[in-house]
C-alpha cells in the first residue's frame, strides 16, 4: 500500500447511550480519516466522546449504540470493510480485532487477566490469528517483549500481572498489541496512570515501534503535552463533536477554536515564572450530558460568544486552511461570505 493512503475513513459517526434519564449522544457526527503511518491525536476533557469514538472502531462501544455513520477500513485480508455493519460479536470483527486493529488500554492494572501468565495471554493472540503452535507462539511473544525493551522476557512469560509494575505491564500491553503487526493501533490514554519518567519511556517506545512497523496510531489523551510530542495531527473534541482538527504544529502554534485556546491557556506552563499572575480560566464546567446546549455546544462557556448566532445555530466543521478544520462561527462566517 502506498504511503499516506487512507486506512480508516470515519464518516458521520453517531453513538448514543441509552440511560434511565434519556438518551445521551456521546459521539455526534464525527468524521475523520486515519492515514497509513500517521499518528492522529484526539484530545478533550472527560465525557467528550474520545474513548467511545476509538472503541467503536473495534466495535467494543457497548453499552453505547452505534446509531449511524460509516467506518470504512482498508483491511489487508478482507479488503474494504464497513466495520459499522459488522456484528460486534461476529466472526468477521474478531478476525480484525488485534490482528489488524489493536488497542492499548488506559489502565495497565486491569487490562490483563489476573489468572493467566503473560505468556498465555500474549501467545493466545497469535494462536487465534495464525496457524501456529503454542511453543512457537511463546517464542514470538518473547521476541516481541524484547522488542519493547522488557528485561528478561523469558522470565516474564511465566509471570502473572500482579508481579510486575505498572510501567512494565504497559510495555507488555504494547508488545501484545503489536504482536500481529496491526495496521492500526488505538492507544487510549496509555500513559495516564504512569509516572512521568515511565510515561516518557512509553512514548519513546511507541514512537519507535510506530516508525519501524509503519503502524498508524490513534492516540487518545487529555494531556496536551503528550499529544504535542507524539502526534502528526490533532483533533480536539468537545461534547461528542470535533471542534478543531489540524496538523500538530498549527494546532499548538496558532489554535483557532476558542475551546482549544482556552485549553492551552489553562495548563500551567512549566517554563514560565508565574509570580503573582493567575492562569486564564475557562469558566463553568462541561454541561450535563442530558441537557445538551442548543447551537454550538461550547457557547455557554465561550468568551467570544456571538449572541443570536452561537446559541442558535450549530457551526459546521469546515476547512479554514490547508488540512485545518474548525467548527466555529468566528471562522465559518468569513467563509460563507467569500
Amino acid at each position: 500500500m502506498e504511503d499516506n493512503a487512507v486506512i480508516l475513513n470515519i464518516e458521520n459517526l453517531k453513538i448514543a447511550f441509552k440511560m434511565r434519564q434519556g438518551n445521551v449522544t456521546a459521539v455526534n457526527d464525527v468524521s475523520f480519516q486515519l492515514r497509513k503511518g500517521h499518528v492522529l491525536g484526539i484530545v478533550g476533557e472527560s465525557g467528550c466522546g474520545k474513548s467511545v469514538t476509538a472503541r467503536s472502531l473495534m466495535r467494543i462501544e457497548a453499552p453505547g449504540k452505534l446509531l449511524s455513520g460509516e467506518i470504512n477500513f482498508q483491511s489487508k485480508s478482507l479488503g474494504k470493510v464497513g466495520i459499522q455493519r459488522l456484528d460486534p460479536a461476529g466472526e468477521l470483527i474478531r478476525e480484525l480485532r488485534w490482528k489488524e486493529i489493536a488497542m492499548v488500554f488506559q489502565e495497565p492494572m486491569t487490562s490483563f487477566g489476573p489468572m493467566h501468565t503473560f505468556g498465555n495471554q500474549i501467545s493466545e493472540v497469535l494462536t487465534l490469528h495464525n496457524k501456529i503452535g503454542k511453543t512457537e507462539a511463546i517464542e514470538m511473544a518473547v521476541e516481541s517483549l524484547r522488542a519493547v525493551g522488557m528485561p528478561r522476557p523469558e522470565k516474564l512469560i511465566k509471570q502473572y500481572p500482579h508481579q510486575i509494575s505498572g510501567g512494565m505491564r504497559q510495555r507488555a500491553m504494547i508488545a501484545m498489541a503489536l504482536i500481529c503487526h496491526p495496521q492500526v493501533l488505538i492507544a487510549d490514554e496509555p500513559t495516564t496512570a504512569l509516572d512521568v519518567s515511565t510515561e516518557s519511556q512509553i512514548l519513546d517506545l511507541l514512537a519507535e515501534r510506530q516508525k519501524t512497523l509503519g503502524t498508524s496510531i490513534l492516540y487518545i489523551s487529555h494531556n496536551l503535552g503528550v499529544v504535542a510530542n507524539i502526534a502528526d495531527e490533532v483533533m480536539v473534541m468537545y461534547l461528542g463533536q470535533i471542534v478543531e482538527h489540524a496538523p500538530v504544529s498549527d494546532l499548538f502554534a496558532s489554535p483557532k477554536h476558542p475551546y482549544t485556546v482556552a485549553l492551552l491557556n489553562s495548563i500551567p506552563n512549566i517554563d514560565k515564572d508565574y509570580k503573582n499572575q493567575k492562569l486564564e480560566v475557562l469558566q463553568g464546567s462541561i454541561p450535563d450530558p442530558y441537557n445538551h446546549p442548543d447551537g454550538c455546544p461550547f457557547h455557554p462557556r465561550c468568551p467570544k460568544l456571538i449572541h443570536g448566532l452561537c446559541d442558535m445555530v450549530q457551526p459546521r466543521l469546515l476547512d479554514v486552511s490547508l488540512n485545518c478544520r474548525v467548527a466555529c462561527h468566528l471562522y465559518n462566517a468569513s467563509q460563507k461570505t467569500s
Binding site: E45, S46, S165, G167, D195, V196, S197, T198, E199, S200, Q201, L203, D204, H222, N223, L224, G225, V226, A228, N229, V248, S249, F252, A253, A262, L263, L264, N265, S266, I267, P268, N269, I270, D271, K272, D273, Y274, K275, N276, K278, L279, E280, V281, L282, Q283, S285, I286
Partner: protein, 336 residues
C-alpha cells in the same frame, strides 16, 4: 509572593522518618524495613506554599500524612508554631492533646469522588470539622458553612444536597470548603487537582491561590505534576525514595536545577510548544524501596554517576542561599 523580610516560621520538620516493617507472613519476624520517609527536614513559612514533588513511592504523601498525624513517625520531630498556644511538638502529643490542634491543620484530598461521604449532605460534610472541634466552635454553625461555601465558589443553597449531585470540580470545592471551615493555619493539599480535567484544574488552582491571599493560608502542596508545582509553590522539595534530593526557591529549581534527578524530570515533561521537545532521558525506574542501591539512591539512573556515587551517600548541603542539593557533583553541574 511572600515578603522575605517577614518570613515567619509555621512548621518545622526535622529528620522525619517513617520506616515501615516488612513482614514475610503473619508469624514471621520482621524481615527488613521500607524507608518511606528517611530524614526529611524542611521549614514551612506563614502564608507561603511549600511543594513536595516526586514520582510515586517517593514518600511525599507519607510526609503529608505524618504532618497530619494520621500515623506516628518512627523518628524525627514536627514542630508547629501556633499563634495561640505557642510552640507545639506535634509528634509527641497524645491523640487527646492533638485534638484541639486538628482544626488548625487541615487536609484537601486527591480524589473528590471518594473523599466525600455519599450519605452526608454538603452541610454535614463541610460542618463536620466544626462539630469535631468542639462546642465552642458550633455557634453560627450554618452561617460559617454558608460563608465558606461562597468563598469556595459554591452557592449556599447547595447545603442540603448530597455529593452525587455535583461534578468533580464542584466536589473538590466542597472538599476545600471542608478543609477551610475551621480557619486552619496550615493546609496539606495532597494532589488536589490530579483527578480533575484541565479546565477545572485551572479553576481550582486559582481558587486555592485566591483563598491563600484572602485568608493568609499556608499550604503544603503535594503533587507529581511539575507544572502545577511551579505555578503554585514559592519553595519546593524534590523527593526521591524517601529523601529530599533538592530543595529551594521555585524559580531557582526550575531555572537552574542542580540535582541530576530534577534535571531529568524537567527534561522529560512533554511540552506543548514543539520547539522544546523532550531531550534528555531519565532511564530506568524508581529504585525499589525495600532493596535500595548503595551510595546515592539515584546513581543507577544518573548519567553523571562516578565511583563515589556508588559508595557514599551524598548529604543535603547548601550550594547557595536557600538552595540545597544532595549530590556529590551538584556544584559542577551548575558550573560553579
Amino acid at each position: 509572593m511572600m515578603n522575605k523580610a517577614k518570613k515567619e516560621l509555621l512548621l518545622e520538620v526535622k529528620d522525619l522518618c517513617m520506616h515501615f516493617p516488612v513482614q514475610g507472613s503473619f508469624f514471621d519476624k520482621v524481615r527488613g524495613v521500607v524507608k518511606a520517609v528517611d530524614g526529611v527536614t524542611f521549614n514551612l513559612f506563614k502564608s507561603s506554599t511549600f511543594g513536595l514533588v516526586g514520582e510515586s513511592g517517593c514518600g511525599k504523601t507519607t510526609t503529608g500524612r505524618l504532618i497530619m498525624k494520621v500515623m506516628k513517625p518512627t523518628g524525627g520531630t514536627i514542630i508547629f508554631h501556633d499563634n495561640e498556644t505557642g510552640i507545639m511538638e506535634i509528634n509527641a502529643l497524645s491523640n487527646k492533646k492533638m485534638r484541639p490542634l486538628r482544626r488548625k491543620i487541615q487536609m484537601i484530598f486527591q480524589d473528590p469522588y471518594s473523599s466525600l461521604d455519599p450519605r452526608m449532605t454538603i452541610q454535614q460534610i463541610v460542618g463536620e470539622p466544626l462539630r469535631a472541634a468542639g462546642k465552642e466552635h458550633m455557634n453560627n454553625y450554618k452561617n460559617k458553612i454558608a460563608a465558606i461555601l461562597q468563598k469556595s465558589g459554591l452557592s449556599a443553597d447547595y447545603m442540603d444536597r448530597y455529593p452525587h449531585a455535583f461534578s468533580g470540580g464542584q466536589r473538590q470545592r466542597i472538599g476545600i470548603a471542608r478543609a477551610l471551615v475551621t480557619k486552619p493555619q496550615l493546609v496539606v493539599a495532597d494532589e488536589p487537582v490530579s483527578a480533575l480535567d484541565v479546565s477545572v484544574q485551572a479553576q481550582i488552582l486559582n481558587l486555592l491561590k485566591e483563598l491563600q491571599e484572602t485568608l493568609g493560608l499556608t499550604y503544603l502542596f503535594i503533587a507529581h505534576d511539575l507544572s502545577v508545582i511551579r505555578y503554585m509553590c514559592d519553595t519546593l522539595a524534590v523527593m526521591y525514595v524517601g529523601k529530599i534530593v533538592e530543595m529551594g526557591l521555585s524559580e531557582d529549581i526550575f531555572n537552574n536545577p542542580a540535582h541530576p534527578y530534577t534535571e531529568g524530570l524537567l527534561s522529560i515533561i512533554p511540552r506543548t510548544d514543539s520547539k522544546t521537545k523532550r531531550c534528555k532521558r531519565l532511564t530506568g525506574g524508581v529504585a525499589d524501596a525495600s532493596n535500595l542501591p548503595s551510595g546515592c539512591y539515584f546513581h543507577p539512573r544518573c548519567q553523571y554517576a562516578k565511583d563515589i556515587c556508588k559508595i557514599e551517600q551524598p548529604v543535603l548541603r547548601e550550594i547557595k542561599n536557600d538552595h540545597q542539593v544532595a549530590c556529590h557533583f551538584s556544584l559542577k553541574l551548575q558550573g560553579i
